[in-house]
């Protein structure tokens, strides 16, 4: 019998209680109410969205003032996804972009839809398309994707230092 055993499976699992910490709560509560809320570093004054654990990693201090950002923003850089992979839910080709929200000092990643991948460009102005309000949770997934606003492109200077 023992000679027949070639391998055993010994899965491990532990349950965790995760707390976001007060620094991120304001961001998550904001999303729950359809608002994009970042926080400002009291030292360097940069506005973080999301407010990354409530810390400015440049200065090593707790973030302070809450600042509403966006909802519109500018594409700083992007990637056209042409590769199919397991678990893919979006039809290829699609665009994943880094978006600098108006009033924020770091970019965030989101999906670009409602335009051809070939038309997406650096400096393009975009705005969020939200899920139905009844489905909102404390998550950035409340925003389905970003779409072009049709505004003129932002000047390169606006996002130059975010590349």
């Amino acid at each position: 019998m023992a000679d027949d055993i070639l391998r055993i499976r010994t899965p491990i699992g532990i349950d965790y209680t995760w707390s976001s910490g007060p620094g991120s709560v304001v961001y998550m509560r904001g999303l729950e109410n359809g608002k994009l809320i970042g926080r400002r570093c009291p030292d360097c004054e940069l506005v973080y969205f999301p407010p990354r654990n409530g810390i400015c990693p440049r200065c090593g201090v707790l973030l302070a003032a809450e600042v509403e950002v966006g909802p519109r923003g500018t594409i700083t850089t992007f990637c056209v996804v042409n590769v199919p992979f397991l678990g893919q839910t979006i039809k290829i080709p699609y665009v994943a972009a880094t978006i600098l929200l108006d009033g924020a000092d770091i970019g965030m990643q989101h999906l670009i839809q409602e335009c051809e991948a070939a038309d997406v460009r650096m400096g393009m102005r975009v705005e969020p398309v939200w899920k139905d309000k009844s489905e909102w949770t404390p998550s950035l997934e409340n925003i389905l994707y970003y779409k072009p606003t049709g505004e003129p492109d932002a000047d390169f200077d606006v996002y130059a230092r975010h590349l």
Binding site: I14, T17, G21, R52, R58, C59, G60, V61
Partner: protein, 351 residues
Amino acid sequence: MRDVAIVAYIEGQNTSATTLSPVEMIVPVVHEVLKRANVQRSDIDFWCHGSCDYMTGQPFSFVSAVDALGAWPPIMESHVEMDGAWALYEAWVKIQTGEANTALVFGNGKSSAGDMNRALTLQLDPYVVAPLWPGFRSLEAMGARAAIDAGTVTERQMADVVSRSLRDAADNPNVLAYGYRDADELLDEPMTANPLRAHDCPAMADGVAAIIITTADRALEMCDRPAWIRGIDHRIDFQNLGLRDLSRSNSAALASFHAGVTKDKVDVAELHATYSHHEIILAQSMGIDRSTTRMMPSGGALVANPLMAAGLARFGQAARQIFKGNADRAVAHAAQGACLQQNIVAVLEGN
């Protein structure tokens, strides 16, 4: 060898369950320890961190801890998947190599984030022991049983350790177990993991500890009475519990010997004894006479055990005894793994 001293120590508030994120816990402690040594971030030329991903449930969770340090302009930093005491060892080596002069070392852990009795089991051999999920407390009970059967530890001695720790806890505002009880009272309690009673097990905590170490040319600027690291060594026993005599700790004995513990009288010892019988096994293995050495004046890890910080806290608490002039020669110790598998020992001196 370069002379290196501990010049500042700060611990964050130990809590039973914080809602802060790990990084938010670290930030104020880092600021505070810099202030204590009266230095700026730019004075630190090496940063070293001890923590455990199994405690947070996130791979590479330690990377986010760098956010707490203000890593711009870029800093030289490192991490050990161990208690912060081993981060201190790495920093000490870094200074010995001449690549750094002043280092900030910290350890942090959020024990409340998961079932640590289960998580700690993942330190075991992953093929034949860990899949059995023996539970960490049960393993320590096995170690205590081995020591009692060998006649090196008695239940009465264990109760005396707990009683003294609870008495000392009264003078330490940063503990989670307190309220003096004498040994008779403690021995009346039922066993929870034979031969361990609830009070023989540590009060688990969420916490942070941070230490600054530096070289001779700067130590006196940062501290009136630095705690000089005169010897430091760490050793490890077999992972296979069946190959070890659990009634003693060979690795603690070796580390103690190489750190030079028995070369002179030990005024104070801060041993990382997370279970009451550990103190007795460690003292015997390390050559520390518990009747002449002041054991764990802080109350030790029994009364506040912030995982991954509690070992470094022993170094900090031992250093504090030197800072305050309460001791001229102190022994700091940290342990990790099941049944005192890994041990680090340092001798600290005021002169």
